[in-house]
């Protein structure tokens, strides 16, 4: 067993941290308050190479390993990049682009990956429906083959990047009688007749990430837009879980480091009863609990990334443990940060209330904590 990161990995994390602190973090508060996607930061993420980090160089990526991708995502959180932008990045790169990269034809890969890796195009993934969340097999969106086309009907809910995406990976039932095996994945481009964004959703946190409902009404796409093999959609969606439990959880780790920095500086500067509040044991204990959570969570996320780098099939038990731990146990340290900073913590000036709001997604998105408990108890 060895927990050492390579010098290259550490150096890259430092570079991302520096870049994000300078180029992105200063723009976060403004966009969060306006609930507005930050196109300028998106462009910068693309130029820096974050959006296509793990794709091969010939497709516009850097060929980075999973661990490096996780460290980059962690660095974004640590720099103070909001959960909205990191969520948009995660949905774009891992849930959409990576699925095309893994399962697409050569033509699909070369058509979409370079544009997605650079950030020229935005991607999204549509799996969840108004009536089908973790119970994926109950989805009602249908795709019916009609000559040289597929015709999609149905709707998708809580779709990150839905309103701004140029391309979407959409899951639909091609054989309603076959449960999971009747689900297939399709590539649908913006502007396709019958494909529309019905409404944007206003959220408690991750506000800079546009979340929408997507509607398909006799949406006709070419039969070539089928992604991978018909009936393999559920398997494809499940493969994104590896990224979901590593690179998409990593910003939460970084966010706790960000809170530690914010709260430490505040505790040293803020004076009450004639001394900095860092002097008080109650304040110190809060800082300690944040650090304990961070270090416990870090190992769980790194383990998923390392296993993926080894080419091992996802250990669903370990993945669910990581998701549950970060989902449920992150509530306390983010709450502590707000309380530690008192009135300032409650206001938007110091960003901790934003991290508090953003972190509420952790026990909900990508499979609720309850669903993780079902999985863990089934697999243990």
């Amino acid at each position: 067993m060895d927990f050492e990161l390579t010098p290259e990995q550490l150096l890259f994390k430092e570079q991302v941290l520096k870049f994000a602190k300078k180029e992105i973090a200063p723009r976060v508060q403004e966009h969060d308050l306006r609930e507005q996607f930050d196109w300028e930061s998106w462009k910068k993420l693309g130029e820096f190479g974050i959006l296509g980090l793990h794709f091969p160089e010939e497709l516009g990526g850097s060929g980075a390993d999973v661990m490096t991708s996780v460290l980059a995502a962690e660095a974004l959180g640590e720099a103070g990049v909001d959960g909205g932008l990191t969520l948009s990045y995660g949905a774009h790169t891992y849930l959409c682009a990576d699925t095309i990269f893994r399962h697409g034809s050569d033509e699909q890969i070369h058509t979409y990956i370079p544009k997605l890796a650079s950030g020229e195009w935005v991607g999204c993934m549509g799996l969840t429906e108004p009536g089908a969340g973790s119970d994926v097999a109950s989805m009602r969106t249908r795709a019916v083959r009609s000559g040289d086309h597929w015709v999609l009907n149905g709707s998708k809910m809580f779709i990150t990047n839905g309103a701004i995406a140029d391309v979407a990976v959409i899951y639909a039932k091609t054989d309603p009688s076959s449960g999971h095996a009747g689900i297939s994945a399709f590539i649908v481009e913006k502007g396709t007749p019958g494909f529309s964004v019905s409404r944007s959703l206003h959220k408690m946190g991750v506000r800079t990430s546009p979340t929408s409902e997507l509607v398909f009404e006799d949406c006709q796409i070419s039969y070539q837009n089928l992604l991978g093999i018909e009936g393999n959609g559920f398997m494809m969606a499940m493969q994104t879980v590896e990224w979901d439990r590593s690179a998409l959880l990593a910003p939460f780790l970084g966010a706790v480091s960000f809170l530690l920095a914010r709260c430490s500086r505040y505790a040293k500067q803020r004076e009450q009863f004639g001394r900095p509040i860092a002097y008080f044991q109650a304040v110190k204990h809060k800082l300690a609990d944040m650090k304990i959570f961070l270090e416990a969570a870090r190992s769980l996320v790194y383990r998923i990334a390392w296993c993926k780098d080894q080419g091992r099939p996802l250990n669903h038990l370990e993945a669910a443990v990581a998701k549950l731990f970060i989902g449920d146990w992150s509530l306390s340290p983010t709450n502590d940060a707000v309380v530690l900073m008192g009135g300032y913590g409650y206001c938007q000036e110091y960003d901790v209330e934003r991290v508090f709001r953003d972190s509420r997604l952790a026990p909900i998105g990508g499979g609720t904590s309850d669903v993780q408990k079902v999985l863990i108890s089934r697999l243990m």
Partner: protein
């Protein structure tokens, strides 16, 4: 980065597990309810057998820190089987043995260190001072007469003292720490009656009193730099207690799951009820999180990382408090069955508290972590 154990780690674990064959496990059942004589006998048998398995000679003293991680998998196994025995073994090998091998020298000391490694002696360390009183100066006196050391001191909570062959007593002298080695039956040495404790009933703990005890040359050393010696003892204790907590959770989860699958309610195993299986999921999550954190702290100690103290404190606080939560949830799952004295879960519930108050307490550990955070992040 590598999350797999290497072949040497597996080999050590296998050697250690071979010691715990069916007969030996039967013997261990008596440990928790045995008197001092039984505890002495059973502990000695395992010390001897584990000495022969080359378990006691690894990771000893500051120079053995590099093997901390290598030991952890085997340590967790032992802690999962018997926490009382685990603590007793570790106090002998890594605390007493580490102190002797790492800080003392001379022929007599080398012989004792070798005996520890072989598994032929049980050791103890008297470190914690008894509560001070007005007569403190009389009770705590250290003087050097000729080549001898004359010591009066009182120590509390000395693990293994009632069953030990040798006790290392840590004393304050001239702003540093002096260590002397005494035998329990030596003139001027009194091992107090075995303490009745909340948990760890298979562990022999008592006070220790030295009254004008004459320590011959070759059996006392120092004074040493207080921080180096104290850091070593605290670090060793905290690793032991963290692993004990992880081992506790592992045993408790296995028992709880077994019970949940066999005990039925409303016509089905209680495991089928979400109120039970969700508890088990949370228990496993706490266990795996704590286990990995302890492993990472062990790796940091082994690699000499600057952050090792903070990471170990994090691991100790998290694992010990997680063990309390996990044993509480287990008791809730087993209900009356778990509440009955002598039950593994009832025992674990009582034992879990120990790790939060022994070694570096959760409160002191949090203060240390926060100091580091304020320096590192502030």
């Amino acid at each position: 980065m590598n999350f797999d154990w290497c072949s040497e780690d597996h080999e050590l674990k296998k050697r250690v597990l071979n010691v715990f064959h069916a007969d030996a496990l039967g013997e261990l059942e008596r440990l928790e309810s045995g008197d001092s004589a039984a505890v002495r006998h059973i502990t000695r048998v395992f010390v001897e057998n584990l000495g022969q398995a080359d378990y006691l000679c690894i990771g000893v003293g500051p120079e053995g820190a590099g093997q901390t991680l290598h030991l952890l998998a085997a340590q967790e196994e032992v802690a999962g089987i018997s926490r009382s025995l685990f603590i007793s073994l570790e106090v002998t090998a890594r605390l007493f043995g580490g102190l002797v091998r790492g800080f003392l020298n001379g022929k007599a000391v080398l012989d004792i260190a070798q005996s520890v490694a072989d598994g032929s002696v049980v050791g103890a360390v008297g470190f914690t001072e008894a509560a001070t009183t007005e007569q403190g100066e009389e009770r705590y006196r250290i003087s050097r007469i000729g080549e001898k050391l004359i010591v009066s001191s009182e120590k509390d909570y000395v693990t293994n003292a009632p069953i030990a062959d040798w006790i290392a007593v840590v004393l304050d002298e001239d702003g540093g720490k002096t260590v002397c080695l005494v035998r329990p039956d030596q003139d001027g040495v009194t091992v107090g009656p075995r303490m009745q404790t909340l948990g760890y009933h298979g562990l022999a703990v008592s006070s220790l009193t030295l009254r004008s005890t004459v320590v011959p040359p070759g059996y006392f050393f120092g004074p040493f730099d207080a921080s180096a010696l104290t850091d070593f003892l605290r670090q060793t204790e905290d690793v032991i207690l963290s692993v004990a907590s992880v081992g506790l959770m592992r045993a408790v989860i296995a028992k709880s799951k077994e019970y949940a699958q066999s005990h039925r309610r409303d016509g089905k195993p209680i495991f089928a009820h979400q109120e039970i299986r969700f508890k088990l999921a949370e228990m496993l999550t706490l266990y795996q999180s704590a286990q990995l954190l302890v492993f990472r702290a062990g790796w940091m100690i082994a690699s000499g990382s600057e952050e090792r103290r903070t990471l170990l404190r994090c691991a100790k606080v998290f694992s010990s408090e997680a063990a309390e939560k996990v044993s509480g949830m287990a008791l809730q799952i087993l209900c009356g069955r778990g509440y009955v004295s002598g039950n593994l879960i009832e025992r674990a519930y009582r034992d879990a508290k120990y790790a939060t108050i022994a070694g570096t307490t959760s409160e002191r550990a949090r203060m240390g972590i926060a100091e580091d955070v304020l320096t590192r992040y502030g």
